[in-house]
């Protein structure tokens, strides 16, 4: 199976602080896209701007209109004035009100921008949805034309906003063809599907082998919830051992998923069993559980005179 995997260089996903930072809209046709690139995927013009920028210019335009309307009223009032007193009153009141308006507007620009953004998301939700569907089909077409790494990267960018099992499985089936390495920019939690799929289990197993630290609650729970089905898989046993091996790095996981850890404790690689043994040993509560008794019997059976299990060897363990 590993022989068919392709050695690839996966592009790093540029992450942004907020999920809408990468969404852009076309000033000409109003379509939306999350993909980078100069020209609009719909009309081809280079008039894409980030939605945040668009919202800011809308907010500013609205504020400018308010100022212009006030100035217009000042001018009309001055033109209608009959004497200098009236001109002074019109101009004086006008300028004070204008100054007040400008002052408040300046302090509100940030909030008004967010409000405009919220309006855009509300009124344009269908257009935004369609834009992302279009982005996904661009990704699928790229894959079909043989450029699977580029296609994967496109689909992955859409996954910042599109959350569904179909897209997750598409990404996973592409990842399955690549030879993954620990230095790659990989993600796990966002790819875990709602329903069980062997692709997800395989991927969790692979991550558990490559980047143990990425295995967290969601992945462990997914594996436990689907344990019988994973056992039916060709590679299932290895997946379960790998995930259990990754989970014993933290005491919290050992405590929370004791039953699961117990079922595979005996089959862990020696180094992972040593780790688990010391985790259990360091906690009287865990030690008094069935898991604690298991530890002693497995140790006595498999590693009778191994010095790594002596209490003073605990400090030398890495998580």
């Amino acid at each position: 199976m590993t022989t068919t995997k392709k050695a690839v260089q996966l592009p790093v996903l540029e992450r942004s602080r907020r999920n809408y930072d990468r969404l852009r809209t076309c000033r000409r046709c109003g379509k939306y896209t999350i993909l980078p690139g100069e020209s609009c995927p719909n009309c081809g013009r280079a008039r894409l701007v980030p939605v945040m920028e668009r919202a800011r210019s809308r907010a500013r335009r609205k504020m400018l209109n308010e100022i212009l309307f006030t100035v217009l009223l000042i001018i009309i009032a001055i033109l209608l004035a009959q004497d200098m007193t009236q001109i002074a009153i019109a101009a004086g009141t006008g300028l004070i009100l204008l100054a007040l308006l400008v002052l408040v507007q300046r302090r509100m620009t940030g909030r008004e921008t967010l409000r405009q953004l919220s309006r855009m998301f509300r009124y344009d939700h269908a257009t935004i949805h369609d834009g992302l569907v279009h982005d996904q089909s661009t990704g699928v077409e790229t894959v079909r034309s043989g450029k699977d790494v580029e296609g994967y990267h496109i689909l992955r960018q859409t996954a910042v906003l599109v959350r569904n099992d179909r897209l997750r499985l598409a990404l996973l089936s592409l990842l399955q063809n690549f030879r993954l390495r620990s230095d790659m920019d990989l993600e796990l939690e966002s790819l875990i599907t709602r329903d069980f799929d062997p692709l997800v289990a395989d991927y969790i197993g692979e991550i558990a082998r490559l980047k143990r630290d990425m295995i967290k609650d969601r992945a462990i729970r997914y594996i436990i919830a689907n344990e019988p089905r994973i056992l039916e898989m060709e590679n299932g046993w290895n997946i379960l051992i790998s995930v259990a091996s990754a989970a014993v790095r933290m005491k919290r996981y050992v405590t929370m998923y004791q039953g699961f850890i117990r079922r595979y404790a005996r089959f862990l690689p020696r180094e992972r069993f040593v780790r688990l043994y010391h985790v259990v040993h360091s906690d009287p509560a865990l030690q008094s559980e069935v898991l604690g008794q298991d530890m002693e019997s497995i140790r006595a059976e498999l590693y009778p005179s191994d010095p790594a299990f002596e209490p003073d060897a605990a400090g030398a363990e890495r998580p």
Partner: protein, 48 residues
């Protein structure tokens, strides 16, 4: 016809005050960044 000039000042006053009030009112219910993120996710994924 000086009443027109005063009327104009009055309209200006009412307009600016209404703007200021609406800014003061919106100040409290401006969406947070988290709310916007959720709103966008809902907009994109609603038909799934």
């Amino acid at each position: 016809m000086d009443i027109l000039a005063y009327a104009c000042v009055a309209i200006m006053f009412l307009f600016v005050v209404s703007r200021l009030l609406s800014y003061a009112f919106r100040r409290k219910k401006a969406p947070s960044e988290e709310e916007l993120e959720k709103q966008l996710l809902a907009a994109v994924n609603e038909r799934e």
